[in-house]
């Protein structure tokens, strides 16, 4: 298992390098460079600009600049925000817990709703319930999250006045209010994942129910409910839980729209605000951190999968 995980870890390094190159190239493709962006307000001569470029190392070749930038990133230096002059990493670490709370609530909702519905659909394959679940699943994949958010605000905040329409309350100030304020956004963020988990649970269950050990258990006369829970569901859940971990990584990125609609001051809103205030170091930092979260969660998913699956553990 150790060798397996080391192999997985070794694969993550080239992936991270590619991500960093993509982020670096995006930065280089921008009109203007860091020197012109930093001094956009000041009226400088060409000689002053050249001097600043030399100070920033912008007169060097792209590969050299990449290595210098990458060396900083490894040490945790993601640059400085052009607007607030704060270190990018600090700004991101400040916003990440907000999105983390949102994504955690969303993944719990996705698993809590998606897995049971997927199991029901698989057990009653071809029934009306199965079709209803499939229809709901496809609908979940088809609703744009920002529009779903607007509709929920219209129904539950404007009409019924049950939830605040926007904002954020820290769980350390008032846990109840924090969870309540975050509930609608978490449902919106979960909508696509409920559908994904539901579809995967259904097909995993159908696969497992065909296995010999399920037939053996039934032949032994084990109660159907025990067959379903102990023999089938436990095995079907392995790939589903792994998927859940990967989906959690995607949720951090998917929170962009949800946070925009509900004006939640998180990681995703930081990205959009960074785009519109032309704060490119922030944009790059968010892309980089989002990818790192995804890669880390993928690795954790692999580790968890290896932990529960003896066939991989033995390697």
């Amino acid at each position: 298992m150790g060798r397996y995980l080391l192999g997985r870890l070794a694969l993550a390094i080239p992936t991270l390098i590619v991500v960093s190159v993509v982020v670096f190239v995006l930065q280089k493709l921008l009109p203007g460079d860091a020197a012109t962006l930093m001094t956009a307000d000041a009226d400088l001569s060409a000689a002053d600009l050249a001097r600043i470029r030399a100070e920033l190392g912008l007169d060097r070749s792209w590969p050299a600049q990449y290595l210098v930038w990458m060396w900083g990133v490894i040490q945790g230096d993601l640059g400085t925000s052009l607007n607030t002059k704060l270190p990018v990493l600090d700004v991101i670490l400040d916003k990440l817990p907000v999105t983390f709370q949102l994504a955690t609530m969303a993944i719990l909702i996705s698993i809590g709703v998606g897995v049971p519905l997927g199991v029901i659909a698989a057990l009653r394959r071809g029934s009306a319930a199965d079709y209803a679940v499939n229809f709901a699943g496809l609908s979940g994949l088809s609703i744009p999250p920002f529009w779903f958010g607007i509709m929920l605000i219209l129904a539950f905040s404007v009409e019924l006045n049950w939830f605040p329409a926007s904002g954020y309350v820290s769980p350390f100030e008032d846990l109840g209010a924090s969870l309540w304020t975050m509930l609608l956004p978490a449902i919106v963020l979960a909508s696509e994942n409920i559908a994904i988990l539901m579809r995967h649970t259904r097909s995993a269950m159908l696969g497992v129910l065909k296995q010999d050990y399920v037939r053996t258990a039934r032949a032994k006369g084990v109660f159907e409910r025990l067959v379903v829970v102990r023999h089938a569901l436990r095995n079907a859940l392995i790939p589903v839980i792994t998927l859940g971990a990967i989906e959690f990584g995607r949720l951090l990125g998917g929170a962009v729209l949800t946070e925009q609609v509900f004006t939640i001051p998180g990681f995703g809103k930081l990205l959009v605000d960074g785009v519109f205030t032309r704060d490119y170091p922030i944009v790059q930092g968010v892309v980089l951190v989002a990818a790192c979260c995804y890669i880390a969660l993928n690795f954790l998913a692999d580790a968890a999968y290896a932990g529960v699956n003896p066939r991989i553990r033995a390697r």
Binding site: I17, V18, V22, P144, W147, V158, G207, R250, V283, A290
Partner: protein
């Protein structure tokens, strides 16, 4: 008269596949919805009751009525007409970005699978790296770099979803390479290009067609997301996403402004998803339950 049997002999499976597709309820309904939106986009000038840009200061945010079935927006433009015209931006973005993703991704995936070696290893690491960045985050970063416009949004979406097609084309190529007829074609001394294009490529088509159809659904949602954020179609040009961006500010006063463009996105995306699932059931025997 002899032309028809000859054509049938060349591709004996084609009519059967289409017939199976039409008998598949999901594929038929999904295809119908997709066709419906294509027709609306093409016939927009004929179907729209008003000019989508025409401002009517006498009818600001008026609720749905006989004159304006879907109501009017904040400067009195007809929501029905703007929803009809908005289908053009969404469908164009869906089709163009997936065409770009296919044009870039399929040759790369085909070459990676066919030649293997260092090129394959490099291509796969790049694909892994790009897939590690959440689709919308990558699309936002690219669209922001290129500058906000519908054309740039299409490029950003196309390049962001491209890795999926590289990976799929490669996997399908590897599967086809194991087939005996590919080996036979190589043994007969055909050039690499001929074997790759005439013998391997056709076998990647069904899986790519399924993925492309589902990809159109993803691209439509992503385009509307970018336009909603202000990074796609720029106002006042009609688009479902940018209409919703304005409409969310009038959610209390004029909820109908949010309702129709959103329902249009849902239905269009649902149609392409349903069609893609149906295509998978009829074309792709591997994924059967």
């Amino acid at each position: 008269m002899t032309g028809i049997p000859a054509a049938a002999a060349v591709s004996p499976r084609a009519p059967g596949a289409l017939a199976r597709l039409l008998r598949h309820p999901g594929a038929a309904i999904g295809g119908g919805i997709a066709l419906f939106f294509v027709l609306i986009a093409i016939l927009a000038p004929v179907l729209a009751p008003y000019d989508p840009m025409a401002v009517d200061w006498m009818a600001l945010r008026s609720p749905p009525s006989a004159a304006h079935w879907f109501g009017t927006d904040e400067i009195g433009r007809d929501v029905l007409s703007r929803t009809i015209w908005g289908s053009r931006a969404s469908l164009l973005a869906g089709l163009a970005s997936i065409a770009l993703a296919l044009a870039v991704g399929v040759p790369l995936g085909l070459a990676a699978g066919y030649f293997g070696g260092w090129f394959d290893a490099l291509a796969m690491r790049v694909v892994d790296g790009m897939l590690a960045i959440p689709l919308l985050v990558l699309a936002i970063a690219m669209a922001a770099t290129l500058g906000p416009s519908l054309g740039n949004a299409m490029i950003a979406i196309g390049l962001s979803v491209c890795p999926v097609f590289v990976r799929l084309a490669r996997a399908q190529t590897l599967a086809a390479m194991a087939e005996e007829y590919v080996e036979a074609a190589r043994a007969m001394g055909y050039s690499h290009l001929r074997v790759a294009l005439r013998h391997v490529l056709p076998n990647t088509v069904p899986a790519l067609l399924v993925q492309a159809t589902l990809g159109i659904a993803t691209a439509i949602i992503t385009e509307s997301s970018l336009s909603f954020l202000g990074l796609g179609q720029q106002p006042p040009a009609p688009s479902w996403g940018s209409s919703l961006n304005t409409a969310k500010n009038f959610i209390v006063q004029a909820p109908w402004m949010s309702l129709w463009p959103g329902l249009a996105i849902c239905l269009a995306v649902f149609g392409f998803n349903l069609l893609g699932d149906g295509l998978r059931d009829t074309l792709d025997p591997r994924d059967k339950d």
